[in-house]
Amino acid sequence: MRTKQMLLAFLTLFLCSSLMFAGTVSGNVTYTGTPDRQKPIDMGKEPSCAKQHAKPVTFESVVTGPKNALENVVVYVSSGAPDEGQVPAQAVTFEQKGCQYLPHVMVMHTNQELKITNEDQATHNIHPLAKVNREWNKSQAPGAAPIVEKFAREEFISVKCNVHPWMHGYFAVLKTSHYDVSKGAGDFKLPNLPPGKYTITAWHEEYGTQTADVTITGNETKNVNFTFKATAN
């Protein structure tokens, strides 16, 4: 009992001190080559959704920004993360709105609660095509209570709605909360990394994964960039 307490005290001390010397990994994700043009979505099948979109919407398997920026890339600490197994208490929320998934790539920690809401006037079904986690497929009527689920194992799970075939996204289930999803400018940021050796992985649904090794020694910001080669689908 005694030793346990001591250990805990040391651990807290260590964590605090390391937090004081927290480093950051940040950078940009870009692509080379010419990505496939994203096809427009015909929501004619679901008028209640179609009218929510003033501008025509396209598929989102490859979303790009200015200067070859690549969006929707999950950048995370795949090895060396100090928080493996620490499940955040707060749930993440995945919205179905205008017959689109918000966000397109939903990142969560293993066993973290995932809350799925249906903001539409249509019935959706959420069908994560999990391979190592358990696959399920649930219907959610308009106004129905949120579906709450969680996934126990690390996996990138393709998610779709069978009723509206254009609705397609991903659940990224990670063993860490040190992650970011690249935004409009392709930028990402992984703050609060204590000194140590890390492997940073960048995952894109079409272009695969890339990794980089980074060592954080103190209170510093390391720059890591990822470049994906656009491949024809």
């Binding site: 019935t123 106004g143 129905a144 709450v148 069978n162 009723v163 509206h164």
Partner: protein, 1090 residues
Amino acid sequence: MPEQPIRKQDPVVNKSFALPYVVSMLILMATLFWALWDEDYGQRPWKAFQQEWKQRYGAFLKTAESKSAESEKNVEQGAEYQQIDQAYQQAYQAAKPHRDELQKQILDLNGKILAVQNVFVDKRAYVNALTYQIETETGASGKESKRKKLEDYKKETWPVEYPDGHREKYDFSQLVEKYNALKDERTKLSAELGEVLKPVTEASTKVSAYINQQMVDLTPVQIDGLKRKTTEWEPKIVQINVADANIVDRCESCHMGVREPLMLTAAAMAHQGKKPDEYARAFTSHPEPGLLKTHDPEKFGCSPCHQGNGRATTSVEKAHGTYEHWLWPLFPKENTEAGCQTCHAADMLLVSNDVGSTISAGKDLYRQRGCLGCHRYEGYDKEPEELNSVSQEIKQLEGEKIQNIKQAAYLMKQADAAETNEEAVRLNDRAVALKVANSKANARIAQLERQTKSLLQDVKKVGPNLKDVRLKLNKNWIPVWLKKPTDFRPTTRMPNFRLNDGQIKAISAYLWQSALTDPQPQHKPGDAAHGKELFETRGCLACHSIGEGDEMQGGTFAANLTRVGEKANYDYLVRWVHNARERTRPYCPYEKKDIGPEDYAKKGLPFVFDLQHSKCPNDGHELQVQNMTVMPSLRLSIEDAQDVATFLIAQKKQEPGAYADASFMDDPGLKDQGKRWIRHFGCSGCHEIAGMEEEGRIGTELTFEGSKPIERLDFALFTEAAQRGGKNAEPITNPEDLARLPDGPAQGPWYDHKGFFEHKLSEPNVYDQGKIKSEEEKLRMPNLHLTKEQVRDLTTFMMGSQESALPADYQYRPLDYRRDIQEGWWVVRKYNCMGCHQFIPGQQTVLMEMKRYQDAQELLPPKLLTEGARVDPEWLLRFLTNPALNDKDTNRNGVRNYLQVHMPTFSFSENELGKLVRFFQALSRQPFPYIPEQVPMLTAKETEMARSLFSSTAAPCLTCHATGDAQHDKTAVAPNLLLVRGRLKPDWVERWIIDPQAISPGTSMPSDLFRRENNRWVFAGPTPPSFQGYDKDHTKLLVDYMFQLTPEEQRRVIAAKGRPQASTQPSRSIKQGASSSDPHHRAASAGGSQ
């Protein structure tokens, strides 16, 4: 006789024997002690095992118990438990005052009863004694005086002192009354107490039942029982004795954990922190407890499955039978499934959880790789053997018929001349019975003849028909292929025969010269791009593969087509793709020849032969009208077939013209020699070859190969090396063949069945090494170029191929629905149905693994996990006969028209259709024949309700299900609901709409469309206003509606769709959904806004 003088040197007198005596005594003593020790321990090594077991299992149970207590605690912390427990506490508290009161009253009563009883018993005894005296008294006066005495006695009074101190006096009758009254009262109070305690006991039973139900492992109480059993264990032989089957298995004397109710792993039974030792490995529980449930050890013992010497107890080697004097050593771990084969020879597919894949693969390989082309194996010649027995039966029936006619005539004659009318009538009746018997025989013969036709259709060959080589092949390619087929197509089923050039020349010459030369229709080239698309999406890849190495995609059931363009003739390829079963000429098994147009012309008949025209023009016998291939028709139009063939003919690595000239094939001098070699190598076991249709098999029968004594397996020059083991034990030197050995090159001795089979299968001519033999004497078995796994699978199959010593009823040959399952698997494996369909949960199909379907499982062929419960068997019969469900428009799927993969037409015979339909029914334990359930007629209001729900935006049904509307059906991914009636079973449909994921895991149809409310199923989304006040199951309503759906009604639904229908009121309990705390009011505005 005078006594001889004692010699001076007499050793008896002069020498002391003390030392030898002492030494012998010591030796004798030592021997005695050794004998005692050996008797008790040396001969009983299991005692040491049992000591270890007590210690280790005891320790294990200790930790298990604390873990179990912990999980029990966890269960107790659950809300549900708390609720049940609280109910118990409440019941207890509620009953307590009344209970205490009653118990006190009963206690008081007991004291009173005791007080009365003390006096009463004594007096009653006296009264009884007097009564007896009166009864036995013979004199009348004596009787009278005694009666008087009794009456007086009964009038006496005696004091009774109650526990509270007060006394009362009673005469005898008062005593009786008092005693009975007190006892009656106690009975009444006890009953009342029972009544009061009833809710308490009920609640407490609920509590313990809940714990038992929730605990995954055993409860602490149960574990405590095991612990007691273990500590109290006295070492003794544990044996299973089944006298009828002559099984005596003492395996559990050491393997004590086999049947324990807890899962024991080697790691758990090892000493803490140490690697599992011999004991730990011995103490594990059986890895598949499910198998023990179906194979009760009390009936089956251990050795019938595992082999070994069940009786032996003196050493591990003896018990496992791994010594030279025991014929059936324990099956090695990797070949354990050989044991299944000894009783399950009739099963084509044996799977129970993780067990069965090896033996099932072995059985399948034996069939698919053509082993049975040369080696007979009981049960693998189903079709030809049945054909034989059918023709036997027909012959026998014909004979009986003639006898019956004769006998009837005789009887009638006798009847006419009979002495009495009664006799005449009796004889006439017998004659009539014989006529009826003949009519029955005729009916049977008609059936058998249809069966003959079926069976002729069912007989298939592993390899292609070589009578067509001139029509279909690039001539110059043939000798190259024969040289070493794997050089051209590494994954081919055709084995390497190690032919020399002379043999190749002769064989190809015979094939070429004996082949058919009929003209075939010419085809114009098609569209290769369209052909590629069809090839990749139609379903060809479920059996065929394309691409080599890492590029390869598709199945291994049929040929890899990467280089088909080098060998094939385009026109033939078109015909083949269009309908592979189309024969050039029909074959008459009676005349043993191919029938040509000339034979038909002789009878003035057109040259037309197919399944409907299958009688020989010469002699009326049933013809073989199809190519004996399992390749089905994909119902492609001739143009589509041209496109596919155009794509395929372009698949090549070199030009067909680049093959060296092989004009020697026309040399008539080579023909006879070729025929001889073809016969020598048994080619006609797998191929149809002109003039060699009725050749016998060239190999030895393998049905009982596994029980051949080892001396009869010919290790040739390697007998000694195999026995000795050591450095040079491995005879195979060819690196390709070495790589096939499942455990790598032999390190130790391999002189056993496993070693023999593995070497034979890896390099079939290995036992020729070093021998001097002529070409004719050399081993003929070709190299099947198997993988390690395949060698293991086949070795396991061979090891299990034994003549069982068990009674016949141990053989798994059921006669009920399980027989239908056995026969069904035979057909399912034969046509590779599992390449497209999932039959067993978790089974991967070839298509499932393709990239194309990773995110689009809805475009895969349906899973058939509950097919028998799903469809009406009559419908299934129609569907299997014609999967297009349409006579004219055949280029479609009858049910899932949205799938690019097409269910092909297999042209199943009546025989196989019946087997398949019965198979699916049996798998789902459905009755046969099926009597469809009557669906209640809906009222007009109910119909309106169902229609409004179907057409509401809240119900997504018609977004995915096809409706017959061409525009809509372009995006449909589920069948038209008009197909429900006549195809599906109502109870299944209801289960399906409630939880489709439980029936077809991963299906596009979502779960949670309905929820349970007030003991009925209601739609989970907003329902139309007409549903208000409807208190029946919504699921039942929708199912009944679907079963009454007509095309007109469907049009009404489509017309109504899109109009505002849904109620503005979401169903009540949506708001209080399971895990939600944040209110969703959006639905309030849902319906009307459309």
